[in-house]
Each structure stands twice: as C-alpha cells, then as structure tokens.
Subunit: 757 residues, 2 copies
C-alpha cells in the first residue's frame, strides 16, 4: 500500500464520518427520533417535546459536539454514575498516552525508519507504507537505541498515568460508596445453599440460623422463589392482562413491563423496580409460608437484611458453616441490579456451570473461524450456484457476481461478529451471575479475550485455526513469530483503525438499529413510546473495542508509528461521541462502582508487555542483541508495577473497608436516619413486579378496589389458579394477589361498562 492510497482511504473515511455525523445532527432534531437519541432524557423527564416544524431542523450543525465536550466530570458523575466516568477515563487515558507516544514516535522513530536504509526514496506520495515501519531499518543498525528509548518513555509514562488513574478512580469509588444515598445492597446479603431440614420450611431455617448466630444484627429476610414457577404465574398474569386489553380498556402500554424477560437476553429490568411500600404486609406472610405446599417451591436462597452495613459485610465475608457448600453468603447486588432468574440456581451447580462456561468460551473463541471460513467458502460462486440453483439466472450478471464474491464474505463475517456479544452474554448468564452488572462484566471479559485473539492474533498468525494451534504448541517461538508478523500486518491495522474504528463510532452515534426499530415500532407495529425502555450502556461491547485499539496502538507504536495519528483521531472522536451518548441516550440502571477499571488496567499492562516482547523479537531479528536485552528489565519492571497495583488498589474494588463502613453506620445512627433506612430496606427487594397494583391504584383510586365486591367467578381457570396459588408467599406476592384481584375486578368492571354502553 502506498502513502497516497492510505491518505485517500483516510479522506474517504473522514468524508463518510462527517456525512454520518451531519446526518446525526439533523436526525436528532426530529422529534420522532427522540426516543432513539434522547432515551435517557425522556426516561428522566417523562415529557414530550412539541412537534413544531422549523427549518432549522433540517440544517446540520456541530453544536452537539461542543455541548458533549463541555460537560464536566462532576456533571457526568451526577448524571450517569461512576461506571460512565470510568469508561470516559479509559478514553482520556488513551488520549493522553497516545499523544505522548505520537510526539515521541512521529518525531523520533518515524524519521529513523524512513531513512533507515541506504536507498533512493521516490516521491513520498508513492512511497510504500513499509518504508515507514521498522522493517526499513538496516540490520545491526546503531540507531535502535532510539527505538528502545521511545519504548521506555512510552512504557514509563503509561505506568505513571495508569497509577494516577487507578489512584483517582479508587478515590472516586470510595466516595461513591460513602457519599451515595441509601443503598439497600449495603445492608443485605444473599444467602444461597440453605440446607433443607425435614419439618422446617426454608423460612424458619433462615430465621433460626440468623437469630442464633447473628442475633444482634439480624433484621429480617426474604425468601427467593423459583423462577420457573414465577414465570408460569406471570405468563398467566399476562394472559389476564391481554384479555382485558382485548376488551378495550386502554391499559396496553402500562401492561408491557409485565412481560416476563427470559433472563438470557440483555433485556432491561423495567419489570423489577424499587417499590416504596405503603402496605403493611409482613403480617400476611406467615399464613402463606406455613402452607406445606409452599415449602416445595421455595428455593434454597434468601436475602437477609441486617441492622448495620458492617454486620452485612461481616456476614458476607466469614465462612458460615463448616460445610462450605452450605450457607454461602455474598453481599447482595443493588435492587435494580439483581438478576432474579439466576438466584434459584442450586449452589452446587455453580462450580460446574462456571467450568462449563469457561470451556465453552474457549472453544468458541478458537473455533469461531471454522463456521466463518465454511460460510465464506460457500459464498464462492460455484458452490452458491450448486446450493441455490434458482439463482442461476441472476448470478450470470457481472454486477451481481462482484457483489456476491466481493462483499458477501465480509458481510457474513461482520454478521457473525455481531453475534459474539450476545452469545458471550448468554454464556455469562448461564454461568450464574447474581447481578446484571456482574453478568455484563463477565461478558465484557469474554468479548475482550475474543476480540484480542480473533482480531489481533489471528490476523498476525495469518488466519487458519491450524496455524493458531501450531503457535500455541510452541510458545518459545512466539516472540519471533510476532516480531516477523506484526510489522508486516501494521498496514492492515492502520486501515482497520481507519475503517472499523471510525465507522464504529459513526454508527454508534447514528444508532442505525435503533432508528430502524423505532420506525418499525411507530409506523408498522404502532406501539407507543415507552420511556422506560431506554437501553443501558453496552459496556460489554464498547470496552473491548476501545481496549483493542489501545492494544494496536501500543504494539504498533514503535514499529509503525503512522498508526498513531489515526488512533488519536479515533480516541478524540470517541471521547465526544461516547460523552454525547452517555448523557443523551443510555440510562444508568445499575452501577458497579467502577469495577470495570481493573479490567482496563490489566489489559493495558498486557498490551504493554506484549509490545515489549514483540520489540525484543524484532531487535533479535534485526541482530541487535544489546537492544533486545535492554528491553528485558522493562518487561520485569512493568510486571512488578502491575503486581504493586494489584496489591495496592485491587482489594478496594473487591471489598468494602471496615473503617469506612463503620463510619457510615455511625453517622446514620447519629443523624437518626437509621430507622428510616431499615424501614425502607425490607421492601427494597421485590421479586414480583408491582406495576399492576400501582397502575390500578393510580388509575381507579383505592376506593373502587376496596368497596367493589371482588368477582372472580367469571375469570378463566388460569386466572383462578394464579389467584389462589399458594406458592406466592412472602411479601411481594400478597401485593401481587391484590393486584390481580384488582385486575379481575377490573375485567368485571369493564364488562359492566361494555354492557352499559
């Protein structure tokens, strides 16, 4: 590839990006697209813009860029939470380190590469890109110390920046923990693997255990019901709901959240909302729980609430029983964050599920290319004709042939790549995460490994599965192999940044899928907007993407410095785009409190070490042993630095410290807020959606419900089953019962109305 060709390609890509961004600036002004581009705002404000038409709506403007750039970190923190700030910090870190790298490499390394060999340089526009890589430096050159120095500068500044980022994010996390308003999860633990005793319900077992061993701090508990059962019940509820809808009462849009989510897809958790309890329900609990049939359907898991945060943390940290497979305790996730459908999984299955997921992910990562190559092979013209004979006529035209052979393979590859994130998320669900954020974090790691392997290494080791396996089986040759392949592939990586990187940002901001779906929903399905359906930020796809570009940057910086300007454009554009998206589009439904940062840190260290190892290999090939050996201390120092950070900061992201937590408890006790907190606590975790009851209360007033005699005689068998179901014990179910009673009642009411009109 020549420099001119690269610049042309860059020009085209800049044009496409500019076009898409202008398109976005127009589309975002259309009120019809508000739910796509302002999901967060709609969800927060619950107001609609007026649909007045002014000409300005059709003129592209760059004002959104300035607006997105203008937000301060405090504002983002207040708006979107710590996770978003950590994500942006990751981009800021990349901007900083690659600015340094660009200065060092463009002015130090690039001229050295260009004039590295005695050769006649042609017009720089027609110069091959190879000339700008380290491949152009003569063997045994005396100037490799500049490459070494550049690598030292980049590594040291990366470590320094990483250290300060880690420190400041750890500080933010501590503030997030201590300064945040009431967080029920701090008072709650999730107990799993509750042992089953004869003649005793789980409810009694939990109560007895915690009153015996944690008497001073135990407040109450909430048994978790098996999702399979709830699923069925909710399905019935939905049927009842639909029945009413069909009868013409306008409750369709509000019923939607009732739909049961399968728990595997990345669906939002609107169906499980924090509910400020107004009813006195604890008293109703006992009669349901004493039912003998109820016992069978409970599962061995419960939320246990404590009087202080410290007590909850202690209970979650200490081994409870001398059989480690019983009474397993964890700190509970936040109420919005609970992944209910995984809580029922018997604890004994978990280790097995984890291993199975691990193996499945590894197999998936390695064997991903097999079906892709197969399908790509299929797209060969002859095979296509063989399989789909009716296309014979069409496939004779030259234009069609070009598309089929030229674009089909890459489209298929791209489509396959789109399936990776959902599949990894599915694996993470199967693994048994108890929280949505945990599931996303786990999926993020899996996608990260996948991306690094399948984009970086597979390209470097030229594709086939066989050669991948061959590399693994001889680890000694890896540095030399990498050293040979990376400079060769540098041109590809530069174009990858140009096309895939910039394009992904443009498509992120335009939200093509969202736009299409919005159109279908509005104009074909004729559903109404549901402001609560704004998506949450897809960390599991975006974090690996940004980290991959970081990896490309570190590994290519001293070998092919031309990549750096393109990377810098990517990161600066990404900074604005992601800020815009975080502020306008995505909702923050749950928080991990910055737990993503250790992943970012470790990946960056991995990239640095990989870059250093490749450099060792390259210097080895270039027969400059002194340069090779001078890098080895850098590798060791980088690894030591990583170990130090792991010791110094990582525990903060895993545990709460006693000091902070006790101070928080004391403050709340002093300010007499504790009682209020504890009252709210017991209704914070709600396994069943209270929407129906709430809706009915809002819509019809409580009097109607209370005074009208309940008439459920006319309802179907399913509905009756649902109403009389004994397993719906515990706090939320009694709510549900009321709600459903009201629903049936409503159906009667509406029938009456129908007959009246």
């Amino acid at each position: 590839m020549e420099l001119a060709a690269l610049l042309t390609s860059a020009g085209i890509n800049i044009g496409v990006c500019a076009l898409l961004l202008s398109l976005y600036s127009v589309l975002r002004k259309q009120p019809g697209n508000a739910s796509v581009y302002f999901g967060r705002r709609l969800a927060e404000e619950r107001t609609r813009r007026l649909e007045t038409f002014i000409l300005e709506r059709l003129v592209p403007s760059p004002s959104w860029l300035a607006k997105a750039w203008g937000y301060s970190e405090e504002e983002i923190l207040a708006l979107a939470g710590l996770d978003a700030v950590v994500f942006l910090r990751m981009i800021v870190f990349s901007m900083r380190i690659f600015s340094i790298a660009a200065v060092v490499c463009l002015f130090g390394v690039l001229p050295l590469n260009y004039f590295g060999q005695e050769m006649k340089h042609v017009d720089i526009r027609y110069e091959s890109l190879e000339v700008f890589t380290i491949g152009n430096v003569a063997q045994e050159s005396q100037w490799f110390w500049i490459h070494c120095l550049a690598l030292y500068i980049i590594s040291c500044s990366a470590c320094a920046l990483l250290y300060f980022e880690y420190k400041s994010i750890a500080r933010l996390r501590l503030l997030h923990i201590t300064q945040s308003p009431l967080n029920p999860s701090q008072f709650t633990i999730l107990v799993r693997a509750i042992p089953k005793y004869k003649e005793e319900s789980f409810d009694d077992t939990v109560k007895n255990f915690f009153t015996r061993y944690h008497a001073s701090s135990y407040l109450s508990h909430q048994i978790i019901y098996r999702v399979g059962k709830v699923h069925k019940i909710l399905n019935n509820a939905e049927k009842a709901c639909k029945k009413i809808k069909m009868k013409g009462v306008v409750i369709d849009k509000r019923c939607q959240p009732l739909r049961y989510r399968c728990g595997l897809c990345a669906g939002q958790s609107t169906s499980f909302q924090l509910f400020n309890d107004k009813f006195e329900l604890s008293s109703k609990k006992s009669d349901l729980c004493s039912d003998s049939r109820a016992k069978e359907k409970e599962c061995g898991a419960a939320f246990v609430f404590f009087r202080t945060r410290y007590a909850a943390i202690v209970a979650s940290k200490v081994l409870q029983s001398s059989n480690p497979m019983l009474w397993v305790t964890n700190l509970a996730p936040e109420p919005h964050d609970v992944y209910w459908s995984n809580l029922w999984i018997p604890y004994k299955q978990l280790w097995f599920r984890k291993i199975a997921t691990l193996i499945a992910s590894i197999v998936f990562v390695f064997l991903f290319l097999i079906p892709v190559t197969f399908v790509q092979g299929l797209s060969q013209l002859d095979q296509l004709r063989q399989i789909l004979p009716f296309l014979e006529g069409v496939l004779k035209r030259k234009f069609v042939i070009e598309i089929a052979t030229g674009y089909l393979p890459s489209v298929i590859l791209q489509l396959f790549l789109y399936t990776v994130a959902p599949i990894m998320l599915l694996f993470s669900s199967f693994e048994g995460s108890i929280s949505r954020s945990g599931r996303k974090k786990s999926a993020c790691c899996k996608v990260l490994y996948f991306t690094i392997w399948n984009v970086f290494f597979v390209n470097v080791f030229s594709g086939s599965v066989i050669s991948q396996l061959h590399v693994i089986s001889s680890p000694k040759d890896i540095p030399a192999q990498l050293a040979k392949a990376v400079p060769r592939q540098a041109t590809f990586f530069i174009t990858y940044v140009l096309t895939s990187g910039w394009a992904s940002l443009s498509s992120e901001v335009v939200q093509l899928f969202g736009l299409i779906w919005n159109f279908i929903r509005k104009h074909i399905l004729r559903w109404k907007d549901n402001p609560a359906s704004a998506p949450s930020f897809p960390y599991h796809t975006e974090v690996p993407k940004v980290l991959l570009f970081g990896l490309l940057g570190f590994t290519c910086s001293i070998l092919a410095p031309l990549i750096l300007p393109f990377l810098l454009v990517y990161f600066f554009l990404g900074y604005v785009v992601y800020r815009n998206q975080i502020v306008n589009v995505y909702c923050t439904k749950y928080e991990t409190g910055g737990e993503m940062w250790p992943i970012v840190h470790n990946t960056t260290i991995f990239s640095l070490v990989l870059a250093q190892i490749i450099a060792i290999g390259v210097f080895g090939i270039k027969e400059s042993p002194s340069s090779s050996t001078s890098i080895i201390p850098l590798v060791i120092l980088t690894l030591l630095f990583n170990e130090y950070c792991r010791q110094r900061f990582h525990p903060i992201f895993k545990n709460f410290s006693a000091q902070d937590i006790i101070d928080m408890d004391r403050e709340d006790e002093k300010s007499r807020r504790m009682e209020e907190i504890l009252e709210q606590l017991q209704s914070a975790y709600c396994q069943f959606p209270p929407d129906i009851a709430e809706f009915l209360n809002d819509e019809y007033g409580e009097e109607d419900l209370v005074t009208t005699k309940v008439d459920i005689e006319n309802s179907s068998k399913d509905e009756k089953d649902w109403l009389n179901h004994p397993t719906l014990g515990g706090l939320p179910v009694s709510r549900l019962k009321e709600a459903v009673t009201s629903l049936s009642l409503l159906s009667t009411v509406s029938q009456n109305k129908d007959s009246q009109t």
Copy 2:
C-alpha cells in the same frame, strides 16, 4: 537389566535394611542414645533411665516394630497431634491404593505385557525387565482395553479413597479446632502495616484504631519490636552469659536457649516459649512506651487480642482500611509457632519478597543440575589430577581410582541433594512467613516441586538443562515424549525405589547424623543433654519423599507393574518406621491442624492426571487410537473431581466457620471459663525468652535476688547498655531486665565465691 539381577539387588537391599533395623533395635536400647531415639519421651517425661548394663541390650529384637504397629490413631492423635495423623494417613492411603493397583496390575496387566508379543521366552530369571513393561505389547494389539480398564479402576479407586480421606481429615480438623484446649491464637490477630502518625506512638495508634472500630470486642494488644535490635541485645546478653560461664559457675547448659537463632536456619524454637505470667507487668508498660526514643524502634506490627474468637476472625477477614496496604490483619499463629524474626518485615516488602522467592526457587530448580554436572565433570580422573596435583601419587592405585570415579559423583550428587531442603527452608524464611509451620509448609511445596522435577522429569528427559528447556518450549510434544521415555526409565525407577526408598527409611530410623552428633556432643564437646532440643518432624523433607514414590507408582503402574511390590514394601515399612519415629523421636511443638492434606491431595491428582496423559501418549505410539480416546473422559472426570473437592473441602483448611466458632465462644461463656482464658491470653505471646529469670528464680530462690543489692558497676559497657536500653519496653522486657540484673548479680556472687575459695 535382567529379572535375576533385580532380585539380587532387592536381596542385597533387603539384607542391608534388615541389618540397619537390627542395628537400630540394639542401639535404641543403649541409654546413651536415648536423646537420639527417645527425644520426645525425654522432653515429655524429663526423667533419665538408669544406666544398668544387661545382656539383653546387645540382642537385636523386632519388638519395636510390633509396638509401633500397635498404636491406634487416637493414641497418635493425642501424642503427636493432627499433623502426624495426616502424615500417616497419607501413607495409609498409598498403601491402600497401591494394594489395589498391585492386585489389578500384577494379575491383569503383567501377564499381558509378558505374553504381549510373539517371541520365544527364555528362562524367566534371565528375562530382560523390558519384557515386563508395556513396551513388549505388540503394536495395534487388541488387548489394550485391559490396560485402559486397569487405569480406570486405579483412578476411580484413588478418587474414592481421596474423597473419603479428605472428608475424614476435614472432620478431624474441625474436631481439632473445636475440641482443643485453650488456643490463644484463636483470640488473636496479627496486625501489620500500622500507619505511622506524627506525635503518636504505634501503641497509641493501635489502641485508638481498635477502640474506635472494634470497641465491643477489643481486649488489648502487644507491640512487636524490631528483631535487629533484639538481636543485638541478645548478643550482648550472650556475651554476658559467656563471661559468667568462663568464671566457672555451671550455668552453661541453661544459658544455651538464650542464643539468638538467626531465623533462617531450621532451628528449634526453644527460645520462644509459652510463659505463664505471674507478674503484673502491664502497669510498667506505659513509662517505657512514652519514651520518645522507644517509638523509633517499634515496628508497624502488633498482636491484638479480642474478647471472643468470632471477633478475632471477623477482624482478620474484613478489609480494615480503605488503603489495603495499611492495617493488614491475619489470624495470629499459635504462640509456639510464631516466627518472630519475620514479624518486623515491613508489609510493603512482602509482595516483593514473595516474587523474588518464587523466581529464585524456579531458577534453583532449573539450574540445580548445572553445578552438579560441573562438579561431576571435575571428578573425572584427568581433571582431578590437574586441579589437585599432590594427589598424583594416590590416584595411581586402582582401588582409589575406582572409588574416585565410581562413587565420588553419586556422593557429590547426594550431598548436593541434602542441601536442597535447607535452601528451600531459607527461601521460605526470606519469603516472610509469620509462622514456623507456614514456613515449613511453604518449604514442603518447594521441595516437592524440586523433587518431582529433578527426580522424575529430569530422568525421563535424560538429564541436561538444555533438553529440559527444550521440552518446555514445545508443550504439544510432552505426552509423546513422556510416553516414549517413561517405560524406558521404568527399570531405573524400580531400582530407585529399591535403593533410595528403602535406604531412606533405614537411615531415618537409625538417625545416623543424630547418632554422630550425639557422640560428638557427649564425648568431645562434653555438653549435657538438653531434653528440650528434640527436633520437630521434618515434614518438608518427608512429605515430598512419600509423594514422589506415589507419583512413581501411579505413572509406572500400568506401564511397568513390577514396581508395585517394591513400592508396597516401601509403604508398609514406612508406615511402621514413621509411626515409631513420631511416637519416640520427634517433638510436636506446633500444629497446622492438617493443612498439609490439600498439598497431598493436589499432588495425588497431579500424579493421576500425569499417569493418564502418559497412557494416552503410549496408546498413541502403540497405534491404538480407541484406547487413547477412551482415556480422555477419565482425565476430565479426574479434574472435575478435583475441582469438586476444592469447592467442598478446601475452604475448611483456610477458614474457620462462624457456626463452630460462635458455639465455642458461647460454651466458654456459659461455663465461665472465658475470663480465665482472657487473663491467660495477654501473656501468651512473649517475644523475649523468659528462661534466664525463670532459671535464676528456680536456682537461687527469689529472696536472694530481692534482698541482695544490685551491683552492676563492674559489668562491661555492653552489659550496661543492655540493662539500660529504653527500647526494651513492654511486657517481656521488664522480665528480661530483672533476669539480666540477676545475671550480673550472679557474676558478682561468683566472683566473691572465687575469691573465697
């Protein structure tokens, strides 16, 4: 090697063993050797046998074998603690599994190997040993399924036995925790990395922190002093002690425990003993600690005592500060088990020390053979002559040449091997273990890796460092390499069991080094017996030895079943010998509570999986792919079994469970023993040896010391320094002061005595 030769060799070894055992049975009857063979009994009873001479003392008898066999497990548990029982269980497990393996392999696999190929068998006595290995089975034989079946039977019974052993040892450990008499370590945590505040001593910092955050359960604390300082002081004390000794007063033997142990050698901990405090010393603390100079010499570590066991465990488990490098807490080791000289190590150094030790150990394991080969090369005759020309004359005799070339290399190798355990122990000390048992456990792991690598793999991969590294660099070929090499080396392993295995047991029981040292001490140095100097069991050398023979057994069982009878003899003999040694020779000074078992379990699983992988390779070479593939599920099942055990049992060996601990606390509170316990607690950990004071009190009576005026004017500068040293604050030092005062006094008394005579 022929079968007859093997049997001859076995005969010779049996003879040697029988001789040594008879020798032992005679030697043990000599009263002079009591301190070698009955160290434990002497230490416990503190009585001497009468030295009457009867003829019976010279007649060898096998009665000790029967006696050693006769002890029940309960007796051993009561006598020598759980660790000894776990060690014996390991041997029992080996006996059981290799009995099963012997039955299966000798009757199933051995005939198959022998008649595996169409060949004319010569007289069985002159048959090569190769004929009995799997190498003799024809390619593509249909009978490999018997080998597979044998491997399945061995693996499954090993897993079943392992499971039951793990379960029963876990039960024993729980009993050990709950039923043991007062254990101060359960109430105590070790706090390290105490932050340094200006204008506040560590003492105040610790007190403030724990009264603030653990007010309800905090009892008191004890600051740890820097060993370097104590070292100096104790050296001075020793000098003083020696001075007195020279003046002729007979206190030499009692002064010995005062000698400061360097903390790196495997020395015994007689200098740090549980001391039942009789003095009221806490009151004296304050005046010493308020001294400004004292602050500098304290180090950032302390023992903190709690009112209940549960509180101590909670404090040890929960992250204390939001900076994880401050206020680091661990459960304290038992008082006898504390490794004082490591407690002062700044916590910030620990991670670095751990990494350094790890690297050093790995380098040592790999490079061990280099000096050995070098020295062995030196022992070549020519080189020897060149280096030591004065030996020219001697080296001309044939007999000397034979010894020099034949025995010198193996003697040197053996000597080098003897250095491994001390060096690994030294590494473990450097690593920063806070307890002696932890240090030994860590050394045990290191010696284990060393042994398995240098005895098994190096022999298999035929020796040189280069070929070792070559193997690592191509992991794919390992199974095939092993499959080729192991059957070839089987003969060597059989003779290894015969010679090294049996001989190590005989030498263990005869205690040659102990015997010689005892002789030197008694007849040349003329020291008197010190019953407290009985050694503790050298788990770090014996556990790896037994596990290595297990590894040889598993890997060779289906390949060369002839090894099994010899192994069985080893284990049965070992069972008796180790029981005898545990009951008679070794003292139990500290306990890990069976923490050795997870190491045994993991190593056994490793051996099993290794045997299975080798089998896969062998079947591959023998072109029996169906047998190869049928082993793969076995590998997976074994690994799953291991993972299950890790989940089910391993936490018990790492943590105490809240349930047990709270029950223990309640029981003690009910029975009103708690107050008594807490009183004893505060004087349980004693950094300075109280021996002198105790001795003097015993010897001279308290009145002498109290009424005689202290005269230290005549003592040397060092002694005065020592007496007036302000850093000797805290509880034990005031004791020391008294003791030393008494010593000086004594020196005056003795001078007076001298002048009188």
